[in-house]
Symmetry: C2
Subunit: 434 residues, 2 copies
């Protein structure tokens, strides 16, 4: 594509979308990258950086050197830049902020003052606000003057004298307005909005439900301070989904196809070592029931199946709860309804599978009592499995513990322990009768 | 909210967003619902139905009776209606189509002719197309005339004489244009587009990457036949994420907080019964090695841990692949890079955990050889676990098998079998030395 021939470089890249530029950048060998970066305009660099991960951004800024970096940062959207700065060590962040113009850095400090993952962090100040008293013609002139300021999102927000949000008008509506029509008569007064402190998932849900292109964000005094656009929300929705899948997989968070092996190991290993120790608890249960096991070795044949099945029902319940919890506030009645449902499901599944395994075990091992023990154990463990898969994430989210703790593997491993304990407990009780 | 007092009903509901209407509808007792529906305008009913699931839509149409239903359907967006019709039994679908005006039903038949989950199915024909030769003033007049036709999405598409897609202009750009400026000079010629047969996930990815509000869809002859809007894409992204989590949970697909228990059981049980039988294979492996187990019962202590750990690494790898596969086309080089990475990760994790468990087993059971057997087994099974978690979903997606088959529980259960086989295989080989 581009090797030595730099004369055609600028006409070629000028029309490219920032995402395409970032793809070219990624394909380049490290030593070619600085040649590439030097030849891009500051705004192109800023737009490209916005499409990249924090780690890639850091690489670019290192390549550009401090002066050019500050220049590029000035052209980036505040919300994207705030995300980058947030992940830097505090000293480095302060250094960068101190290099910037006071007006830029104070806007960034305000953004960084909102809680992480809040609507305030996501918003951009590139929006156009109109006054309700303006006529359509005045509004159009105002829009023309603020051209460079505005994102092309299709809505214009109307504020009153105190900068309080009063309504919304679309470009589309302005097209159909008479020149001297007042904005007040054009605008919709029922505006869906977010507050600066609102969780980003909740804001995403509003945009999705009401099929909006942008969501205005207001502060404690109902003043309009920014907007969140639907493209930022799409990124949030995708990364929330990634988090949920990682949760189900357990500790795979932030690992993708491009993560280097050592980093992947460092992120997965702590989890696995924790699970290894928890897994040994299962071992000590078997150890504790060694005598039972020695007398009926056949019990060992059904051990993997019982432990596995309990883990499986647990994971199924977990999947329902993980997605259901997403950005939703749970009322007590929802929780009770869910618990009753899952208990009932566990019971029905337990009875079906319990009966089935009783018959299988009877034909395989020729003992009805052994069959019965295994069937009853499976019934009990499946109910327990369903309930742990439901309750643990609910309890964790109630106490605002990072729900990643309730990962699939953890639930599976805990269910291993519970199921073996129940299984051998029931078996040793009926041992004399075998 | 509204019980007996219907006089204030229409002024109250007129300003409500369709999503809010649907929430009120859901809160109503079944017998109140028809009173509620009767009092809504046809367009309100159509908009509300669009925000609901197919099952809820069917309930509404049943409530409204055939004549009113057809009327409401005429006011619905084609893509939403096509989704509803697609899920009906063919006889019922034909019946509904035959009641409609020929122009409506033939448009729907065209949509239903595109493959399920394709861009063609998602698109709406409510867009405005301009000609490149128009002036800005002509364009504005054209837009005013087609007012009711257009979604307020912010873009206008430009087509040539053969209806081929030629460019895109935003409302925003039209605002800044001189009256007699040609559309040709305003439009951007580099348009990101989808084809009717393109997978909906791929279309979603384009919208996300290029931060678009809408994506034009063209047919085989490059003719513009519809647009996909970002709000439809948000729904797709959310439901794809739900599918991925369900995949990790195994068979929990389409189960949410409101699914009745019996339906939840019917969706989960087939999976569990399949897994039960696969789980019994693990049992028969233990059965096969019964003599080994009888001689060293201590082997049973480590069984749950080894099987569990293998399942855990497998699920971790699966989580990475499931999200990575999402809508992405894999090149051979990506696959090889991923496989090499996961093999390396499996090796490193295996060595770490293997050494750790060797030490633990030595101190617990006092036999270095037993410790070594368990350590080597864990090393081997962790590598195998990582590889199955990576390969199975890759192979399935390669052969276009529904990847829901490669669910977390299935991988866990298969890994149970493999790990027990390896574990007892290694142990029985060294049996003489213990």
């Amino acid at each position: 594509l581009e090797r030595q021939d730099f004369s055609e470089f600028q006409p070629f890249t000028r029309d490219l979308h920032p995402y395409d530029l970032s793809q070219i950048y990624r394909e380049l060998a490290p030593e070619e990258r600085s040649h590439f970066l030097i030849r891009l305009h500051t705004q192109q660099l800023a737009d490209m950086a916005e499409t990249m991960t924090n780690r890639e951004q850091a690489g670019i800024f290192e390549n550009l050197g401090p002066d050019r970096s500050i220049d590029v940062m000035r052209h980036m959207e505040d919300s994207d830049l705030a995300r980058f700065l947030h992940d830097l060590p505090p000293g480095k962040r302060e250094e960068l902020l101190s290099y910037m113009h006071l007006s830029d850095s104070s806007a960034l400090r305000t953004l960084l003052g909102y809680p992480p993952e809040s609507a305030g962090r996501l918003m951009t100040d590139r929006f156009i606000s109109l006054s309700a008293d303006d006529t359509a013609r005045e509004a159009v002139e105002h829009i023309r003057r603020s051209a460079s300021m505005s994102d092309t999102i299709g809505y214009l927000y109307v504020v009153d004298g105190n900068r309080k949000l009063a309504g919304v008008v679309s470009y589309h509506d302005l097209f159909f307005a008479e020149d001297d029509q007042k904005i007040e008569t054009l605008m919709k007064k029922r505006v869906v909005f977010a507050t600066v402190a609102m969780d980003q998932e909740e804001a995403a849900r509003l945009i999705q439900r009401y099929e909006l292109l942008a969501l205005p964000v207001i502060d404690e005094e109902s003043r309009l301070c920014g907007i969140i656009t639907v493209d930022d929300i799409l990124d949030i929705v995708v990364s929330e989904a990634d988090e949920d899948v990682a949760k189900m997989g357990g500790g795979g968070k932030d690992i993708d196809f491009d993560t280097p092996p050592l980093i992947a190991v460092r992120r997965r290993l702590p989890w696995l070592i924790l699970l290894l120790f928890i897994g040994l608890v299962s071992g000590s249960i078997v150890d504790y029931f060694e005598d039972t096991l020695k007398q009926i070795v056949a019990l060992a044949f059904f051990m993997p199946m019982i432990a596995g099945m309990t883990g499986n029902t647990g994971t199924q319940s977990l999947a329902v709860v993980v997605r259901g919890l997403n950005g939703r506030k749970l009322t007590a009645s929802t929780v009770w309804k869910l618990l009753r449902r899952e208990l009932l499901v566990g019971l029905m599944i337990g009875v079906s599978c319990g009966l089935l395994i009783t018959v299988i075990a009877y034909f395989w091992q020729g003992s009805l009592l052994l069959g019965g023990i295994i069937g009853v154990s499976l019934l009990a463990t499946l109910i327990i499995g369903t309930l742990t898969g439901t309750c643990i994430p609910l309890v964790l989210s109630r106490f605002k513990v990072d729900p990643a703790v309730a990962s699939g593997p953890l639930i599976t491993t805990l269910n291993d322990i519970l199921s073996l304990f129940i299984y051998f407990g029931i078996a040793s009780r009926f041992l004399g009768m075998l």
